[in-house]
């Protein structure tokens, strides 16, 4: 039996197909303005990759900011549950899960049985989400990958005083004008957002093992800044942006298996 999970994010929509509990295929597409169309596109692409017909996919669960736009999904799964299920699939001993997306950051605490016991999130302020790094990368004329790489090369800690993305952008421009090393600016940007995610984590308490998922977990500079901030090693799965979609697919798979 095949189950599918779709994660409709604010930027990208991801789909994962499972046979039983093993991954058959995955695909992603830009969300854009038409969320139902994006969900359909991602799932169609995944079904092509898995060589199964789109119409045969009946066991579909949706998660993410646009989960309610997926009319062909059997049920919506909250992002918190999806993140936890998906992370525990790769790291069964995960107790703390961090998910940083473009417009949202979430931290989740699980007990020994993998049950969600607490969570905290920031969805109000872009300064604690990926949009912050994107905005600064644009000001610095760097790609997200370059931001991460350059940040790791920095040996200087410089403070970024502005809290707000809008104000921080001006501050970064000022730093560029005063000929501050781009590597140090990149690190300052990651340190700033890491400290905000760190505060969110301390609200729920940090317990080993800590897993970092979501698109921003691909940013090696952010991973390092966050590791330094919380003083704990972070486990990052191979394709961290698919964890939500995987988690949604797993909830369906578990239902089928009668768990």
């Amino acid at each position: 039996m095949i189950s599918a999970g779709i994660d409709v994010g604010t930027r990208a929509t991801k789909a994962v197909l499972l046979r039983g509990h093993s991954i058959m295929a995955r695909a992603q597409t830009t969300t854009g303005f038409d969320r139902p169309a994006a969900a359909k596109r991602a799932l169609e692409e995944a079904s092509r990759a898995a060589e199964v017909s789109f119409d045969s996919l009946t066991e579909v669960a949706a998660t993410g900011a646009g989960k309610n736009a997926v009319s062909f999904a059997k049920k919506p799964v909250t992002e918190v549950v999806a993140d936890a299920r998906g992370s525990l699939h790769f790291f069964p001993n995960a107790r703390t899960i961090i998910d940083v997306g473009v417009e949202e950051a979430r931290v989740i605490k699980c007990d020994d049985a993998g049950k969600v016991v607490d969570f905290a999130m920031n969805e109000k302020c872009a300064a604690g989400a990926g949009a912050f790094i994107e905005s600064m990368a644009r000001a610095l004329d760097l790609t997200m990958d370059e931001m991460g790489t350059l940040s790791l090369q920095s040996h200087n800690t410089i403070p970024l005083n502005a809290q707000c993305v809008v104000f921080a952008e001006s501050e970064v421009v000022t730093l560029m004008h005063t000929k501050t090393d781009k590597r140090d600016i990149a690190r300052a940007v990651h340190d700033a957002i890491a400290s905000r995610i760190g505060s969110l984590l301390r609200m729920i308490g940090i317990e080993n093992q800590v897993v970092f998922v979501g698109g921003l977990a691909r940013n090696t500079g952010l991973v390092e800044s966050l590791r330094k901030n919380i003083g704990v090693e972070l486990l990052v799965p191979e394709s961290p942006e698919y964890i939500g979609a995987l988690g949604a697919a797993l909830t369906v798979a578990n239902e089928i298996a009668g768990k």
Partner: protein, 256 residues
């Protein structure tokens, strides 16, 4: 100011380097008067870049200056001042002499400051001084933008445009969201009549009208229509300078 009377003024955008901007604004204010730089007996600098004004004899916070300036422009009944600038927003309470009794400010988040209006002026390609009037030109008042963050509000506005909203409606939603945030700040400090609005946002009728509606009180109109409410801080600083001359404070240059 000459002996407590407004003589000449200028308003211009702050460019890189607060000191040069201050020099230019001063030169512009003197332009067309029969005065020269040397005729100025005492200079007080205020505002965000006040410490960078190297020719000032003294620096005083913009909070004190706005209260003092508002007291001069509108008179002793002023008790509450909203000063909304391009980068922060302050709610100030003062006594009948224009002395500050308490204040709260937001300088952390661009939402609820003039900066958010600038961001939208840029996004929608509308001159900033037309935003207030345009925002009032809607048939029905839309819900305020629901996002707190300016970055998210921008995405929200783009989605609304996709839904077929016109620019005026977006601006109405922006101005009412801004007014709400300012009202929260004002309620924290407590609103007492009379209320006045200073800073650049005083010129945005869309925000001011909605703020008045939100609070259920009217702000005082500018008594003297030739006096720009954006000048309140500078007028306050000039009044403090007048005091210093009266008290015979030595006009020492701060950086000499």
């Amino acid at each position: 100011m000459i002996e407590g009377k407004l003589h000449a003024y200028s308003v211009m955008r702050t460019v890189a380097g607060s000191s040069q901007s201050a020099q230019k604004a001063l030169a512009w204010a003197l332009d067309g008067t029969n005065l020269e730089r040397n005729d100025i007996a005492f200079t007080v600098a205020t505002g965000y870049g006040r410490v960078n004004v190297d020719f000032a004899n003294k620096v005083i916070t913009e909070i004190s200056c706005h209260a003092r300036g508002a007291n001069w422009i509108w008179g002793p009944p002023v008790r509450t001042i909203v000063d909304m600038g391009g980068q922060d927003c302050k709610a100030i309470r003062c006594d009948q002499n224009g002395r500050v009794t308490s204040f709260v400010m937001n300088d952390k988040c661009a939402a609820g400051t003039g900066r958010s209006i600038e961001v939208f002026a840029d996004l929608l390609q509308i001159p900033i001084d037309e935003i207030g009037t345009l925002s009032l030109n809607v048939e029905t008042e839309p819900e305020p933008l629901s996002s707190t963050c300016v970055v998210f509000a921008k995405s929200e506005a783009i989605s609304r445009l996709q839904d077929g909203w016109d620019k005026k409606r977006i601006l109405a939603a922006l101005c009412s969201a801004t007014a709400r945030k300012v009202a929260v700040l004002l309620r924290r400090v407590g609103v007492e009549k009379e209320l006045v609005v200073t800073g650049g946002i005083a010129k945005n009728v869309g925000v001011v009208a909605r703020l008045e509606r939100e609070l259920g009180i009217k702000s005082l109109p500018v008594a003297n229509p030739t006096c720009d409410p954006q000048l309140a801080g500078a007028i306050g600083a000039a009044l403090f300078a007048t005091d210093a001359i009266g008290k015979k404070e030595p006009p020492k240059l701060r950086f000499s």
